[in-house]
Symmetry: C2
Subunit: 312 residues, 2 copies
């Protein structure tokens, strides 16, 4: 099945307690499409770059089945740039610089033949751009997922609410879920947010795993306890890409299948943080991914043996 | 199998975003023994109280199989008292008052016939008191677990290290594990701490679950996402009590059995936070506990279906 994604394709400068990386390739759609490319074909990417983006990265993405006809290239302009520094605990970060560049007036255009995607992942961008993508889609896709962030809740709430009513699954982190719902309990937050539109909700908790909410059911996927986290940048997008890639491959919209998809998304995210930027996502293979999924299974699996609380 | 526990039996005044409770029954050993009493008999409690402690709580504990011959009662003195206020997120709290009272010069004494416990849970107390209990035990128990806190790391490090070499399993929270090991990664922290003595380590992460470390294996038990947390006080002790109660009942020292014990401990902790103080622990039964354990299983269980990453 085809997966259409929209999001940034960009440069990041990153400082973590483990090291620094200057102007390396990043961007939500880059992580999403690379992660998804391990599961589904074709991956169709809608974004915009300047003339400064490395051709060899684009070639690599194409080799991995990522179609780039929806990627606008602007001569004489620069790609989106973000710089940030992670705190010691890697769970918080400060933005040091944001240069919108080509993103400032980005208008997404779906190329001819892309109007009927099976699966859609709307990466974190202004809700207006996300809506423009939805409006260019002719028939309702099987599953539309989106990411967003606190900034759009502060500055574009009404637009955000309109997009929320058009999608099936929202994928956000715990802090965003709390701000969006004004509820601290994630169970309450999930209720409120699902009333805003999406039938499914995934709340990512970083190193503490992820929760999937649907009707009155909850599924929890742990994060793998890691010896070392080098760079959390892109982990959330990689999770979303792995999740939607798995959904697109298996093409079964059910709670049980989403559980598997979340485990695959979590596995992909666990690779992402092992090296800076997209590097780890360029060198994986099916066996490595399956072994990681097995590690997730053994992390949480337990058997009961008929013994439990006393009956008296 | 018998479970011996030492720890505080006390009063707490608690403020949480959901309400307040003044001078209610609390204390590590109270929570531990009540939680364990749903699984094993006898539970033998070593502690000290003043003449202000309610007789009816003691009677209730005895009805639940908690033996109190090791509980010293000091006429004319007051029980240990703690007052604290939880932050909005319930994950952090400020201590408003601590009155040691009878605890100031507490010397634990094991009653005749208690010298050979099968299982031992050393609740959070000064390492010296924990060691005094260990020294009164004649034959090595099947499993000795202990809790501790940052305060003892700051003020009694050498004593703490001596106790650590005498126990099998340390049960602490993530913040304590990081301070004890001077490592941020919990995987690295677990390595360091296990070098200090305990073969097994449980790191509790509050609303984010708990990790069990043994040799090169890791097991993760989630916390149940809850609609409402009324009062986190005692959740960690209740976890330890449920864990050790289950171990004492099943009497099988293995990684697989500890996984089950952690799920039972997590289930007991999930009840504890639903009401103030020990209240919820006074009204449970085997069916209610088993249903909660099933909820934990369905929260994390997923099936694979042979589909995964693309082989190309």
């Amino acid at each position: 099945m085809s997966l259409l994604t929209v999001g940034t394709v960009a440069f990041d400068s990153i400082e973590t307690p483990r090291g620094c990386a200057e102007r390396i390739v990043g961007g939500a759609a880059t992580y999403i499409s690379l992660a998804a490319s391990y599961f589904a074909r074709p991956i169709r990417l809608v974004s915009v770059i300047g003339d400064d983006f490395p051709e060899k990265t684009l070639e690599f993405m194409q080799q991995r089945g990522v179609e780039l006809e929806g990627l606008q290239r602007r001569e004489g302009e620069k790609s989106f740039f973000w710089a940030g520094r992670y705190h010691d605990n890697m769970n918080a970060r400060d933005t040091l610089d944001t240069q919108l560049n080509v993103l400032a007036d980005f208008q997404p255009h779906l190329p001819k033949g892309w109007e009927n995607p099976d699966y859609v992942m709307l990466g974190n961008l202004t809700p207006q751009v996300q809506m423009q993508v939805i409006q260019q889609i002719e028939n309702r896709p099987k599953l539309v997922a989106m990411d967003t962030m606190n900034f759009w809740m502060d500055t574009a709430w009404d637009d955000l609410m309109q997009v929320l009513r058009k999608i099936d699954i929202l994928i956000i982190n715990d802090e965003e879920a709390r701000q969006m719902s004004e509820e601290y309990s994630l169970v309450r937050a999930a209720e409120r947010i699902r009333e805003m539109g999406p039938r499914y909700l995934i709340i990512k908790k970083g190193e503490h795993g992820a929760l999937l909410f649907y009707e009155d059911q909850i599924f929890f996927a742990p994060a793998l306890p890691l010896y070392e986290v080098f760079d959390p940048t892109g982990a959330g997008d990689t999770f979303a890409g792995g999740f939607m890639g798995y959904m697109a491959q298996t093409d079964e919209i059910s709670f049980d299948n989403m559980k598997r998809a979340i485990i695959y998304g979590s596995a992909m995210a666990s690779f992402c943080v092992e090296k800076f930027g997209i590097e780890r996502l360029t060198e994986l293979d099916a066996d490595t991914i399956e072994k990681r999924v097995e590690a997730f299974a053994s992390l949480v699996n337990f058997s009961t043996n008929g013994k439990g609380a006393l009956k008296d």
